[in-house]
């Protein structure tokens, strides 16, 4: 690749962390370089999180473009990799995306536009639309978005408030949603106030259900920062066939429960009846309710509903198991 820029003061630094996904990296970088003609200058920092595959060879030809930079992060984990990218980013706006994602050609521009329209905005996220590897199965409802790392909270922009509900990245009526790392951007000043991504709740290698995005968002909102969802900011993510199997969704919810236990969401930890073995009482209560609903729906042969309750039960069991194991 040859030079495509002579600007050395990017407006946006894109941080893309990758681990052993070299086969997906070329389309991801191609999409990042195919931005529309009126895009503000930007840089792309590829953080290689200790990959053992051809990641280096894939990135190498892109470096001469003047846009793509390469950094190697030996400490395994998504938060370590993101923090590395942050530390060498040059712009005041830092955008994150994933190694399998294809950003749209207006992605960078829409991020810059949104921050320009809202000077007090610290954090913004948008849609993550699916590129289905196979027809989505009937049991897969909107609640499957979080495990698939998808996000679509409608076509209206809204402000994100502190959240009260329990599960993953689902949209709730009060618009407490989780902006996910495939399509989120922050002002640098937010990291100066709230700190970096936490390695405690990070995804390590191919682990699933991690909450580094959400933990950061909670910290940011806790400081009173303004976060928004803006549907103009769009990326697309391939959903491979193996993620359309129930097995994957079961494993994700169990893993998410464990990470949630590690994260300690204050609103979730609150309990009027106290805790047993480190687990808030309402978790046991919900687990019994979900188990009953699961059995009831199985008997009634309402498969989709039964599976939804099963997943919630798995989340709660994952949460409880993590806490109880911590005790022992």
């Amino acid at each position: 690749m040859r030079q495509v820029t002579d600007v050395d003061h990017p407006v946006v630094s894109v941080v893309l962390c990758t681990y052993n996904r070299s086969h997906l990296l070329t389309p991801a970088l191609d999409a990042l370089l195919r931005q529309g003609p009126d895009t503000p200058p930007y840089e792309v920092i590829v953080v290689d999180n200790n990959s053992a595959d051809a990641t280096r060879q894939v990135v190498e030809p892109f470096i001469a473009s003047g846009i793509v930079r390469y950094a190697f992060e030996p400490s395994q984990g998504l938060s370590h990799a993101r923090n590395h990218g942050l530390s060498i980013a040059r712009a005041d706006l830092i955008a994150f995306t994933d190694d399998d994602v294809r950003v749209t050609s207006t992605w960078i521009r829409s991020i810059v536009d949104t921050f320009a329209e809202h000077p007090d905005l610290d954090m913004v996220g948008g849609k993550v639309e699916p590129i289905w590897g196979d027809a989505p199965p009937p049991w897969l409802t909107e609640s499957g978005d979080a495990p698939l790392a998808l996000a679509n909270f409608g076509d209206e922009a809204f402000r994100i408030g502190p959240r009260s509900s329990v599960l993953g990245a689902r949209s709730t009526p009060d618009r407490d949603v989780c902006l996910i790392g495939a399509n989120v951007a922050m002002r640098r000043r937010l990291f100066e106030r709230a700190g970096n991504f936490s390695p405690k709740v990070q995804r390590v290698r191919d682990g699933i259900g991690s909450t580094e995005d959400y933990e950061f968002q909670l910290r940011a909102l806790g400081l009173g920062s303004l976060a928004m969802y803006d549907p103009r900011i769009v990326v697309r993510a391939p959903v491979p066939r193996e993620r359309l199997m129930k097995r994957y969704h079961r494993a994700w919810h169990s893993g998410h429960g464990r990470f949630y236990a590690l994260m300690r969401d204050p609103s979730f930890e609150r309990s009027s009846l106290g805790t047993l073995l480190g687990v808030p009482a309402h978790v046991y209560r919900s687990a019994i309710r979900e188990a009953a609903a699961w059995v009831g729906n199985v008997v009634a042969r309402r498969n989709a509903a039964a599976f939804a309750h099963e997943l919630r039960l798995r989340f709660l069991c994952g949460f409880a198991a993590q806490r109880i194991l911590q005790r022992i």
Binding site: R34, I63, F72, I88
Partner: protein, 306 residues
């Protein structure tokens, strides 16, 4: 009216047979009357000779001596008033010659006209290009710290002026075109036009240049400017020097990290590291600081575990 000035487009070609017909066609498609096309085959080992022969263009053959030597060969062979150097994988935009020649015709002081580059991929689809704004009143200053002529096809020269200079200087290797632009800019003989003149192609076979080599070549050019420019320009050359070290320093760090983790450690990597430490200590420090921070963090974690 401007068609009185004759133009040669020199197309040096080293193993770009695949793209050569596109480049030649873009010259033929110029809406300007007197345009000659001259292909210089720089010792290609692919089908360049056959492809060029089939296209009925003037062809110069030479053993492989590098792109600057090939451009100079074209310069010596040309007899027209104006000359353009178009890389074989690039394409002129249809009105490029007419626009540039018109600018030179109306501005007798100018010896080069420079426009902008559009960028395309291997299949000719447009890619975004990020040109920083250039202050035409301080062109030499701006040029000292970045080269906004990404490919020589975006420039048109008065042939005699370039020939008087001796063409592209071979000792500064891959920065020879940069040396020529600075030379004309220092004399205030460059005219900037706001139009895109050339489509610059990105493809897998684009020479991915070694940033350490590019930095050394670029700094050699600036050293030449330091010797020849008036003393008042010293400070500005220093600013440009720092900017180039920053620009290529980051690329050198990226490349070194790739090479290190791919266990590719040879004389090239040692030279790149020496170049980085010598010319870009600030870039090296920035990355070393990150590394040191991590080592500290890790040792603190280790203590906590004890």
């Amino acid at each position: 009216m401007n068609d009185r000035l004759s133009v040669t487009v020199v197309v040096p070609c080293f193993n770009q047979a695949r793209f050569l017909p596109g480049a030649v066609a873009s010259v033929r498609a110029q809406g300007y009357e007197q345009v000659d096309c001259l292909v210089v085959n720089d010792g290609s080992t692919d089908e360049t000779a056959a492809v060029a022969a089939a296209m009925d263009v003037r062809l110069l053959e030479q053993p492989n001596r590098g792109v600057s030597a090939a451009r100079n060969a074209g310069l010596s062979a040309a007899t027209t008033d104006l000359i353009v150097f178009l890389d074989a994988d690039d394409e002129l935009l249809p009105d490029a010659v007419a626009r540039a020649a018109a600018a030179l015709a109306t501005d007798p002081d100018a010896q080069i006209v420079v426009g902008r580059c559009a960028v395309m991929d291997a299949d000719g689809r447009a890619l975004p290009a990020f040109h920083d704004a250039v202050d035409a009143a301080h062109l030499y200053d701006a040029w000292l710290s970045r080269n906004f002529v990404w490919t020589p096809g975006a420039a048109m020269f008065r042939r005699s002026a370039l020939a008087d200079l001796g063409g592209f200087p071979l000792p500064v290797g891959p920065a020879a075109d940069y040396a020529v632009y600075l030379r004309f800019a220092r004399a205030g003989r460059v005219r900037l036009i706001p139009h895109e003149l050339v489509r610059y192609r990105q493809h897998a076979a684009s020479m991915s240049r070694d940033p350490a080599l590019m930095l050394r070549a670029t700094l050699a050019v600036l050293r030449g400017e330091l010797r020849q420019a008036p003393a008042a320009m010293r400070e500005r050359i220093d600013v440009g020097w720092g900017r180039w070290c920053e620009w290529y320093g980051e690329q050198i760090v990226s490349r070194l990290q790739i090479d290190w983790h791919a266990r590719r450690l040879g004389t090239n990597q040692v030279r790149a590291l020496m170049t980085l430490l010598r010319y870009c200590p600030r870039v090296a420090l920035r990355h070393a600081r990150h590394k040191a921070g991590r080592v500290l963090r890790n040792s603190r974690h280790a203590e906590n575990r004890c």
